[in-house]
């Protein structure tokens, strides 16, 4: 079965002050229909930039520096802007991290959802209005008839995020990109929003790219995981395999760092050192200066991605 999204060797660079810094380096991933892939990593590892690149929303001084992004069979890199505009909102929907500021304060919620429909479908205004009400209901907003004419500032954060979701799925896209959709929300609302995404995925068979730094969310809502570190993929596996048998030392460190119930009195584990900034990436493996299992080889050459088990890959010189 063809994956809905297939990314290979994607590289993104930023040109600042005459220097070109590669922020995302040869990243690859794929998602099947109806599947949720979690893209995990620390702040600044390049996951959001990757997501924006999928939509062609990288703006100068950033630029895509190579690789391929295939939506079903269509190559998106180097597609002309007008074609990309047809795809955004229609075949790919995206929701962002801060719903508080991601909606235009001067337009009603109904206007903003309706805008997507008017842009990508040929529905009449009345039909659009009806569809908006349906969508508001579908995303779990009570009293849609009243809410549809409200402005963003009249809604709570959780409700705004639901509106964002409604906008993103209005045209029944194949792929939904959710960039840290719950980071800015209360914990109780988090669960609801993620649950909503799961439900919609089941109903509409959407592929979901869930970007997060929260392993708890990964465990509960993702089918597969890809771990990113300093712009490169470290490991990729099904959720079960990753948590049961992590191969990359970074992943191992992440999992060890999670405080567990019952381990009172023990010192909390944390990975030594800090994430290097893009202009200071070590040659060779980027994790080499923090890795507890580092070998000489790791400092010299970038490890290649090797298959460890079925559908479980890691980029590490250790086996």
């Amino acid at each position: 079965m063809n994956p809905v999204l297939h990314v290979s060797n994607l590289s993104i660079a930023f040109d600042i002050k005459g220097r070109s810094t590669t922020v995302v380096d040869e990243v690859g991933l794929y998602i099947n229909a109806g599947e949720t892939l979690a893209l995990v990593g620390e702040s600044g590892c390049g996951k959001s930039v990757t997501a924006l690149a999928l939509m062609g929303l990288i703006e100068s001084p950033g630029r895509v520096n190579g690789g391929s992004v295939k939506l079903q069979d269509q190559e998106l890199i180097n597609l002309p802007e007008s074609a990309l505009q047809d795809i955004r909102g229609k075949s790919i929907g995206m929701i962002f991290q801060e719903p508080m500021v991601a909606l235009n304060p001067l337009f009603t919620v109904g206007d903003q959802i309706g805008e997507v429909l008017l842009r990508h479908t040929s529905l009449s205004r009345d039909a659009v209005q009806r569809k908006c009400l349906e969508l508001l209901d579908q995303v779990g907003i009570p009293d849609p008839a009243r809410r549809i004419n409200q402005y963003p500032h009249e809604m709570s954060g959780g409700m705004k995020q639901r509106v964002m979701i409604a906008m993103a799925i209005a045209c029944e896209p194949m792929l939904l990109i959710a960039d840290e959709p719950t980071t800015a929300l209360d914990v109780t609302v988090q669960a609801q929003i993620l649950g909503l995404i799961d439900q919609l995925q089941k109903d509409m068979n959407i592929a979901v790219l869930l970007i997060t730094h929260n392993l708890g969310i990964v465990a509960q809502h993702a089918d597969r995981v890809t771990v990113m570190y300093a712009g490169r993929i470290a490991e990729s596996a099904s959720v079960h395999d990753l948590f049961a048998d992590p191969h990359h030392p970074y992943t191992q460190g992440l999992l060890k760092s999670i405080p567990r119930n019952g381990e009172t009195g023990a010192r909390l584990y944390s990975i030594d050192g800090a994430v290097p900034s893009p202009d200071q990436f070590p040659a060779g493996c980027r994790f080499s200066n923090r890795c507890p299992l580092v070998l000489e080889q790791c400092r010299e050459s970038v490890p290649t991605m090797t298959q460890r088990q079925t559908s479980h890959y890691a980029a590490c010189w250790q086996d």
Partner: protein
């Protein structure tokens, strides 16, 4: 929103009161203690002081002076020192003369400043952006009359556009159409000169507002919805960027009145600025104080209007 506006209005009435008090107080800075003639001030002769004392009832206690002034002002009793004509009609007449320049200048400013600012913001860092920035700063840095004289020299020599007064002498004999065109021609250069600094300042503000707005998240959301560039900029970004300018609307008037003093002098335009200047030269206190007061009143009215419009335009205020 209604409560907000009512409160706003009442506050402005209060401000109006204080404005009038301060305007009135100005008569007290001038001659020092009215009973003395300050030998260092060649502008205050004993007969002037006597006139002032009479007109402003300076022998009375302070608060009564104020009351008299207000009463005289509104009943038309307050008379100009120069020709003993009531003050308010004089001001009104000259204000009507100044109005065409104000309106034209404002139109020119807004028509030119917005596209320039928006274009510079959208193409931030480009040659157009940096070039227009430099031009804007240069315009702000030129003394108004310096530029005016340069322009007059060039314009009169090259194009023969009239620059003196409101109409050509003897034009009242001509047909209405010619008279109208004559008035328009006379309007061109003064309006343009009054507008130049406004264009520079406003286009800078527009640019910086647009730059801010373009970096907002909702612009990115709009793009992610597949909307084309024009829609993103002109429908989503611009409306948000434009909102603060509604408030600037009300503040344009005092700027125009202030600037009109110079430009009306240069172009011999019989407007309110020139009236004020002549009044100051003639030490015509009733007129001077009243003009200051009226100008402040107009500012208050203008800013109140701005607040009303802003409240209507921004749903965050409208619905609170």
């Amino acid at each position: 929103m209604r409560a907000f506006l009512i409160r706003n209005f009442l506050q402005r009435l209060l401000l109006l009161f204080f404005v009038s008090v301060i305007a009135h107080a100005m008569v007290h800075i001038a001659p020092g203690e009215p009973s003395e003639v300050d030998p260092a001030n060649p502008r205050m002769k004993p007969e002037d002081i006597a006139k002032i004392r009479a007109a402003f009832h300076l022998d009375e206690p302070l608060h009564l002076q104020y009351v008299y002034w207000m009463r005289d002002l509104f009943t038309g009793e307050l008379k100009s020192f120069k020709d003993s004509q009531p003050v308010l009609p004089k001001i009104a007449g000259r204000f009507v003369n100044s109005l065409p320049i104000f309106i034209c200048a404002t139109l020119i400013v807004w028509t030119l400043a917005f596209p320039t600012g928006i274009h510079a913001a959208v193409r931030r860092g480009s040659f157009y952006d940096r070039g227009s920035t430099f031009v804007a700063y240069s315009l702000i840095s030129i003394p108004g009359f310096f530029l005016a004289y340069l322009v007059i020299l060039w314009v009169v020599q090259q194009f023969g556009i009239p620059v003196i007064g409101m109409r050509t002498f003897g034009a009242s004999e001509a047909q209405p159409w010619l008279r109208f065109m004559d008035r328009i021609w006379h309007l061109v250069i003064p309006s343009l000169m009054s507008a130049l600094v406004g264009i520079a300042v406003l286009s800078r503000y527009v640019r910086s507002q647009m730059v801010d707005v373009l970096q907002q998240e909702y612009v990115r959301t709009a793009r992610a919805k597949g909307l084309d560039n024009d829609t993103v900029i002109y429908r989503h970004a611009l409306r948000n960027a434009l909102l603060p300018f509604i408030t600037m609307f009300g503040l344009m008037l005092p700027a125009l009145i202030g600037g009109s003093v110079i430009f009306e002098q240069i172009f011999a335009w019989p407007g309110i600025g020139r009236l004020g200047y002549e009044a100051i030269l003639a030490r015509d206190f009733p007129l001077v104080l009243t003009i200051n007061f009226i100008a402040a009143v107009l500012t208050l009215a203008g800013t109140f209007l701005s607040d009303v419009m802003y409240a209507m335009a921004d749903p965050r205020i409208r619905l609170s």
